[in-house]
Symmetry: C2
Subunit: 223 residues, 2 copies
């Protein structure tokens, strides 16, 4: 007999089936969903690329949404700090929201430092086991470049001893072992990065679209 409400969850939560299948939903919406997940250190350009990509896709007629780590820390994840446990939970929540959007037929562009490999893998698995594509994009540049850019002043403050736990400096960043795409933002500009990911997004959303096929050919056909 369970009397503690917190212990009886598995008996009180009964999932309710949808009134429409995902296939029908994606078909009627005219596009498929999927998540493009940008991971990397602060200052690599994740948010800049993601914001520009979202705008580009929407103006081209795709339904896309940008989920940004910093922006969500002021809303959905406002209760979380930067302890390791909180960083795990931050990525878990953003991954779940990404899955909800992608499941509904939206192309998600997530820009989240997401320093731990296991968290990103869990997000990938949650997508793939739900039949939703997940594309991991490593956004990187040499640390010297990041220190020069330092758009938020974090590297300066870290160097001055005013900030502890900066990812890649005195907090771990686990580089992806099998990211689908590696963007070196010291070697390519924002527009190049957006062009590369734009093609990926169209490939997720409308696998048979002319836009996608043209871009595939231009890239040498790698899916």
């Amino acid at each position: 007999m369970t009397t503690d409400p917190d212990q009886s969850k598995h008996k009180t939560v009964v999932p309710h089936p949808a009134g429409i299948s995902r296939d029908e939903r994606w078909c009627l919406r005219g596009q498929r969903g999927g998540t493009i997940w940008l991971t990397g250190l602060s200052g690599t350009g994740k948010s800049t690329i993601a914001a520009a990509l979202e705008a580009t896709l929407i103006r081209e007629g795709l339904d896309a949404v940008w989920l940004d780590g910093d922006n969500l820390r002021m809303a959905l994840c406002a209760d979380l700090g930067f302890s390791e446990a909180n960083r795990h939970e931050n990525v878990r929540r953003i991954g779940e929201v990404a899955r909800l959007f992608a499941s509904s037929g939206t192309v998600v562009i997530a820009s989240v430092i997401s320093p731990f490999r296991a968290d990103r893998e869990r997000t990938r698995q949650a997508h793939q086991s739900d039949g939703i594509p997940f594309v991991e994009v490593l956004v990187e540049a040499p640390i010297e470049i990041l220190r020069q850019r330092d758009p938020k002043g974090l590297y300066r403050r870290s160097l001055a001893g005013e900030l502890r736990g900066l990812t890649g400096v005195d907090a771990p960043y686990e580089r992806p072992l099998r990211a689908e795409i590696d963007l070196r933002t010291d070697l390519c500009g924002v527009s190049d990065a957006v062009a590369r990911l734009r093609s990926v997004a169209w490939g997720l959303a409308r696998p048979d679209s002319a836009v996608n096929q043209t871009d595939e050919l231009a890239r040498g056909g790698r899916p």
Copy 2:
């Protein structure tokens, strides 16, 4: 000088502006976003109505998404139980996700018991202060009817002493003071409820649409 990472959040989180305004996004997507929030006791029919409404809207060409309290408790809110603090947090998170979807131009149908008035009001405020419409719908039926329906067996288990903290029985439910719509599901069927909310959804998404105007006239012109 702040050295504890958890205390330095306000100095490390820097929001990044979007590359496209909401107006342009909504215009290009051909619809506006908004949230229809169904609150009420277990067994009133919230999920049944919401699932049918979502399917109806998508088949009519609107982009809609259903966020269900029980379904999300198995994913985004899987870490939460049913303590009062956890119930607050559950509603807060679903409200934030609703706002993200609505902001992107999707009509959200949320079905969540959401027993506390303050939580629903906070969700309403978060939407409205962000320029996003929020429509609160009270879904209700007399408790005797709910005990008869009892689709999850919760009322039976509560009566047998096997379950504590059932909303409306031995846990509080604060009835809305100013819900825009009151659906008495002992008096109207699912299709009637869906028809009523369908008109609301079209009114949110495409205020000038013929569908909406026709329904407005049929209803006597009440917005």
